[in-house]
């Protein structure tokens, strides 16, 4: 009986085999694909940092614009102007954070020239680091 069943059964198609293989591979690889919590934390931290940099500068810009409007009674002119300035500052902050200027949010041109220990070397004035 069993022999008959076996004879009737068509050989597994290549697609079937492929699917099985993929399943097995997925099962084997899934534990390794899970990044360790520390790297999740670092990635989340970076994402959060970029978001916060963007929002913080925007909030400052909108806040200043609103206060200026309140003070100068030019509503909504200053709010609009400072909204765009604030978003530009936010993008600047994000750009600096992402392009490896470390955590410095302010102007940091000479970062290349003084990597870690900046004792008494005169600040070089060439604008190479603006990249």
């Amino acid at each position: 009986m069993a022999g008959v069943m076996n004879d009737r059964k068509p050989p597994p198609s290549l697609d079937d085999l492929d699917a099985k293989l993929r399943n097995a591979k997925a099962r084997r690889e899934s534990p390794q694909e899970m990044p360790d919590p520390a790297s999740i934390g670092a990635g989340l931290g970076f994402a959060l940092r970029v978001g916060i940099e963007l929002v913080a500068a925007l909030a400052i810009g909108v806040g200043i614009g609103w206060l200026l409007d309140y003070w100068l009674e030019t509503s909504p002119l200053m709010l609009v102007v400072f909204f765009f300035l604030g978003s530009a500052a936010g993008f600047l902050n994000v750009y600096r954070a992402v392009s490896g200027y470390g955590y410095a949010a302010g102007y940091s041109l000479g970062e290349d020239e003084r990597p870690s220990s900046s004792q008494e070397e005169p600040p070089s004035q060439d604008g190479k680091g603006s990249g």
Binding site: P37, A38, I40, G41, A42, G45, L48, R49, I52, E53, V55, A56, A57, A59, I60, G61, I64, F82, L85, G86, A88, A89, G90, L92, N93, G102, Y103, A104, A105, G106, Y107, S108, L109, G110, R114, S116, S117, S118, Q119, P123, Q125, G127, S130
Partner: protein, 246 residues
């Protein structure tokens, strides 16, 4: 959340409760659970440093190694990021780091209070850093400090646009500094509470959130250290910007 009642909200842990109500000239200066947590943090850090260094042995014991490690950690951070001139600001940055770190860790104890999850606290510290760094910059460099806002190589016809953007970018520093710590602590603790709330609701399937909460606790302890470190290193970076103008 509504039928669960306000007592089971995941945000309940952030509520400030008065322990000793106190009014001073119309200003509410009550001793709250936040103040209690801060007091505990200061006492713990002080005791840790005083008692572990009491003997000051040449061959340090465990506690002394811990104290020396934390000292060297901040000392190296300042040396690498600020340089020799930064050494006199060591006490401030060390105190800042230990205060934030202790606060984050105390927040990990169940039923305690995380004072770093309040924007008033983090923004207070960030504002002190920001104002202090700005004053240091102005005292050290005078009017030249304001050249900070005009990068080299900017053509004159763009200066009117760049200067406000740079000033806004500079002003956003304390906001992003305080928001980062506050958001990390608040989000992390809320997430833990939410997952912990699932454990009993799901019954037998609650094992999955339980595992998640265990993992999150580890992650939160990493974040507790990381955020204190980030706050301290950003203070160093800002200090460096003020001391060595580019």
């Amino acid at each position: 959340m509504a039928e669960a009642g306000s007592g089971h909200s995941p945000l309940e842990q952030f509520q400030i409760k008065e322990i000793i109500p106190l009014k001073l000239g119309g200003v509410d200066v009550s001793f709250t659970n936040s103040a209690l947590a801060m007091t505990v943090a200061v006492v713990l850090v002080s005791c840790f440093l005083i008692f572990s260094m009491r003997r000051g042995a040449l061959v340090p014991g465990r506690w002394q190694v811990l104290a020396e490690l934390s000292y060297e950690f901040i000392a190296n951070m300042i040396r690498d990021n600020v340089g020799q001139e930064g050494r006199r600001y060591f006490p401030f940055i060390f105190a800042l780091f230990m205060f934030i770190f202790a606060g984050n860790l105390i927040g990990m104890i169940p039923y305690s209070f995380t004072y770093t999850s309040h924007l008033a606290v983090t923004f207070g510290m960030a504002a002190v850093v920001f104002i202090g760094v700005t004053i240091i910059g102005i005292v050290k460099h005078g009017v030249k400090f304001f050249g900070f806002f005009l990068p080299h190589g900017v053509p004159w016809f763009l200066a009117w646009l760049i200067i406000p953007i740079e000033i806004l970018s500079y002003l956003s520093r304390p906001v992003s500094l305080s928001l980062r710590l506050f958001a990390n602590m608040t989000a992390g603790h809320t997430m833990m509470k939410v997952f912990a709330g699932f454990i009993f609701v799901l019954g037998a399937a609650g094992l999955a959130p339980l595992v998640m909460v265990v993992a999150l606790t580890g992650l939160e302890i990493i974040i507790a250290f990381l955020q204190a470190y980030v706050f301290a290193i950003l203070t160093c970076v800002y200090l460096n910007d003020a001391i060595h103008l580019h």
